[in-house]
């Protein structure tokens, strides 16, 4: 059977992708950001996951206002990088894992999570920046990736509790898959940031650090945080953090914290990153 062995959370700031693609990673502004992921790259290169389930949000790339799925799973064989207005990122095409993705879809739908099934989808910085941060700049991504898109653009996003329970359902789905696959789940987005209006630029590092602590040690309580707290304390776009709870729900109650990184700023955003392994 397949197992989820670890979880990774990370911000997915588009400017990080642009810095990497533009050869600016060594510049003083960006070097500290990428330095925070050096240990992570070594960790995942050693772990060699067979599949990554990547929880992210689409930023009006694959989904417009024409269709707004709350949860959508990518079941295609591949997903091209999206043109977000300045041309697609020069990164490899993302290869999916249709068999496991379909299995997860079937399993969680019967487990009362009504995912939208997507067979054709471009993937934007929300998905590709975390891959770049964890895998660098390879000619091909080292493993298949199953995109799991969560609506956090149109209010309201799903609740933290719903996200947490979806993570638990995904774990049950993975563990009922009959091939021995080593799976890592990513929860992406955040941390505190606001991109719009006169309050743009909001950062709340006290909130962010408490969120990181609770994500490790007290996730069931963290999942009860109401949307107004995210909006008020972490900024209108900080509500992306609910996606981290999908990752956390897919892990054991007890986890081992392997790595943590927090940095302000990357463009408009507080960068948070944590790696958790299921405690043996």
């Amino acid at each position: 059977m397949a197992h989820i062995v670890a979880g990774v959370t990370t911000s997915h700031v588009p400017a990080i992708g642009a810095a990497l693609d533009g050869g600016k990673a060594a510049e003083p502004y960006w070097a500290p950001v990428f330095a925070g992921y050096e240990a992570s790259k070594a960790w995942i290169a050693a772990l060699k996951p067979d599949v990554v389930i990547l929880v992210y949000n689409d930023h009006a790339s694959a989904f417009s206002l024409d269709m707004i799925p709350t949860f959508a799973i990518g079941c295609a064989a591949e997903f091209p990088p999206a043109d977000e207005g300045w041309g697609p990122r020069p990164v490899p095409v993302v290869k999916g894992h249709p068999k496991l993705a379909w299995h997860i879809a079937q399993s969680v739908i019967l487990d009362e999570f009504d995912l939208t099934i997507v067979n054709k989808m471009a993937v934007d910085h929300g998905l590709t920046v975390p891959l770049s941060l964890m895998f660098g700049q390879p000619d091909a991504w080292p493993c298949p990736v199953i995109p799991l898109a969560v609506n956090v653009v149109q209010y309201p996003p799903p609740t933290g509790a719903r996200c947490y329970k979806l993570g638990q359902a995904i774990r049950r789905a993975v563990e009922s898959y009959d091939e021995p696959l080593k799976v890592v789940i990513f929860g992406t987005g955040g941390m505190s940031h606001q991109l719009q209006g006169p309050r743009a630029g909001l950062i709340n590092s006290v909130f962010d650090r408490a969120f990181l602590d609770a994500l490790v040690a007290d996730p069931a309580n963290l999942a009860l945080k109401p949307h107004i707290e995210y909006l008020r304390e972490a900024g209108s776009e900080g509500i992306e953090l609910v996606m981290w709870l999908v990752m956390r729900g897919a892990l054991n109650a007890e986890v081992r914290e392997v790595h943590r990184f927090y940095h302000v700023p990357a463009s408009n955003t507080a960068v948070g990153h944590i790696i958790l392994e299921n405690a043996a």
Binding site: P198, I203, L231
Partner: protein
Amino acid sequence: MTADYHDIPGTTVFDAEQSRLGYPINTFCMSLMTAENRAAFKSDEAGYLKAFGLSPAQTKVVLERDWNGMIAEGGNIYFTAKLAATDGLSFQQIAAKMSGVSQPEYAAMMLAGGRPIEGNRSKGEG
């Protein structure tokens, strides 16, 4: 409808009301996802907008690049960012415009730790 988040200063939550209002603006912005459409828009902005059913007020804020005005008229930042990209502007450049400071001032604020939460939680807080 009032909501708890209406009390957050300088912030427009993209809720049902905003989404209904802003469908034409956001659909226009979505069309800028291809190089061909970006070029067509740049060559005749007002003419290009006619296909999307924007109100006169919405047309005005788009043509004037009034970024806060677009948000007020139902634009969502992830959509209006596509217009910014068409203009060669980054998220940070339009964030500076929306918060009423120059881009260097905004960048300096971010380097110093960002806009503080103190004083920015609620309208009543001042």
